[in-house]
């Protein structure tokens, strides 16, 4: 457990974060550093010669890894953010079996999002999907959502934002969606009256 904490410390340092960051802070830090070192930022220009391509790529790789590991870590602890007690951390981790068994319904997505302290506004700003549509997605207001292909697109963006398994989110959610769509009774509600 302590070894793991040391790794987490290292990742926090790479993303220049303090103790116990929120998921939003992790993501913002990642995007800022990624943008800084992968584009021609004015702040980088004066020292460009001192930072050869190879070193830059190493840095970007480190940043990428730190982000991936920290998001995994974060979303593992759905019940709590980085607890300072290492034993507490162990008991609250979701095992791989448990994670596979999560069914990504709208309600589940909403719960994960809320635990991560992320507002629909945040996702909307990033993905350019309207807040009402994201809400409809979470509330499973299938009738108010656009065509299936768009719903799939929404899900991909949503899942990507929360660093979830895009495939599984899509598969799970669309299962429910398709059930509704293929049910003549509910379908009638969409096209009729």
């Amino acid at each position: 457990m302590h070894k793991k904490n040391k790794e987490i410390q290292k990742y926090l340092e790479i993303l220049e974060l303090g103790m116990d960051p929120t998921y939003q802070e992790i993501k913002t830090a990642y995007l800022h550093l990624k943008r800084l070192f992968s584009t021609d930022s004015i702040a980088l220009f004066p020292i460009k010669k001192e930072l050869p391509k190879k070193k830059r790529q190493e840095l970007l790789k480190e940043i990428e890894t730190a982000y991936t590991e920290l998001s995994k870590q974060y979303l593992n602890n759905v019940h709590t953010e980085f607890p300072s007690d290492p034993d507490a951390q162990k008991s609250l981790e979701i095992t791989d079996e448990e994670r596979i068994s999560i069914f990504y319904s709208g309600a589940a997505l909403k719960k994960i999002r809320e635990k991560a302290d992320i507002l629909l506004l945040n996702i909307s700003l990033e993905t350019k999907i309207r807040i009402e549509q994201l809400k409809n997605l979470e509330d499973e207001n299938f009738a108010l959502l656009p065509e299936r292909i768009f719903v799939k697109g929404f899900l991909n963006n949503y899942a990507d934002y929360l660093s979830l398994d895009i495939q599984k989110v899509s598969t799970d959610y669309l299962k429910k969606y398709d059930e509704w769509k293929n049910n003549p009774a509910t379908r009638k509600r969409k096209t009729g009256e």
């Binding site: 800022h32 930022s41 004015i42 702040a43 220009f45 004066p46 020292i47």
Partner: protein
């Protein structure tokens, strides 16, 4: 009995002229004085002493030259700044060539600055990075650099920070009787070490783990405070965060982004009139920004991305 005040020293430096150091310093001092603190402003900008102009004071009779040339104590050189609780030790860019001040007098100045009975002593170092400036900068409790969101200014800041680091390194190593090591570093063929503080530390640690430990101790609390001035847009403001990350990742140095001030005609006007901006435009958003920068500096706070 006179209470001995804490005398926290802030020094502002770095970069060429025109980044707004004097503007920032006079306003930061005004904020502190207005909040009840006893402040001393010192103008050591030998290239163009203009703190007194910023405050609308005629060139005072007593200046820092009196200390250097006549040995007048600092307390006797202070003049009124026009702001209650803030006194000014005016600079003098006319009478002497900076290079002619002997080293021992400079050291004396630094000792006397530290002994001033103020809550805060704010030093305007002006542009450039010669040894006097660096040595004075290094006695500060808070080392502040003023940056503009332009390439040249950013380049200057990196250069300045590197110069400060090497000066400090030289001081630390020389104090330990390791002057030879300093020469060794300077003539190091493998210039990889000279570009990055981390690389340099690694090199020195290889030389001796004792030195390494000592340097870790000296540099662990080493940090700079960044103020971004003359900002045009919100994209500009982000540059502060970028510089912070570059300093950390590439130079291995910690910084605090204390805040940013936008470019505005009203600011130019207040400089021309010769009155602190905080006084002339108390309700302006730029005043709010300046106050926040001052508070962040006091409490060692950063902007969040």
């Amino acid at each position: 009995m006179i209470t001995k005040r804490n005398n926290e020293i802030w020094a502002i430096g770095g970069g060429k002229g025109g980044t707004g150091k004097s503007f920032l310093l006079s306003n930061l001092g005004t904020f502190l004085a207005n909040s009840g603190k006893k402040v001393t402003l010192i103008d050591l900008d030998l290239g163009g002493a203009n703190l007194h102009s910023m405050l609308g004071i005629n060139p005072p009779n007593k200046t820092i030259s009196d200390f250097y040339n006549l040995g007048v104590p600092l307390e006797k050189i202070t003049t009124s700044s026009g702001i209650r609780r803030m006194s000014l030790i005016a600079g003098n860019s006319l009478s002497f060539a900076p290079q002619s001040i002997i080293y021992s007098r400079k050291l004396k100045l630094l000792r006397h600055i530290q002994k001033l009975n103020s809550d805060y002593t704010l030093i305007d170092l002006g542009a450039g990075c010669d040894h006097s400036i660096l040595d004075t900068f290094l006695i500060a409790d808070k080392m502040i650099v003023a940056i503009n969101p332009e390439l040249i200014s950013i380049e200057n800041v990196y250069q300045f920070i590197k110069s400060v680091i090497f000066r400090k390194l030289r001081q630390v190593l020389t104090a330990e009787g390791l002057k030879d090591l300093v020469l060794k570093i300077l003539y190091q063929k493998d210039s990889r070490y000279l570009k990055n503080l981390n690389g340099l530390m690694d090199f020195l640690k290889k030389e001796s783990p004792d030195i390494g430990e000592m340097l870790d101790k000296e540099f662990s609390k080493f940090k700079f405070y960044l103020i971004l001035n003359k900002v045009h847009s919100s994209e500009d403001a982000q540059i502060g965060f970028q510089i912070k990350s570059v300093c950390l990742k590439h130079l291995g140095i910690s910084t605090r982004y204390a805040g940013y001030i936008e470019l505005d005609d009203s600011i130019k006007r207040s400089v021309r009139i010769g009155k602190p901006y905080l006084i002339s435009y108390p309700t302006s958003s730029h005043t709010t920004a300046l106050r926040q920068v001052a508070k962040n500096l006091q409490s060692d706070q950063d902007l969040r991305i």
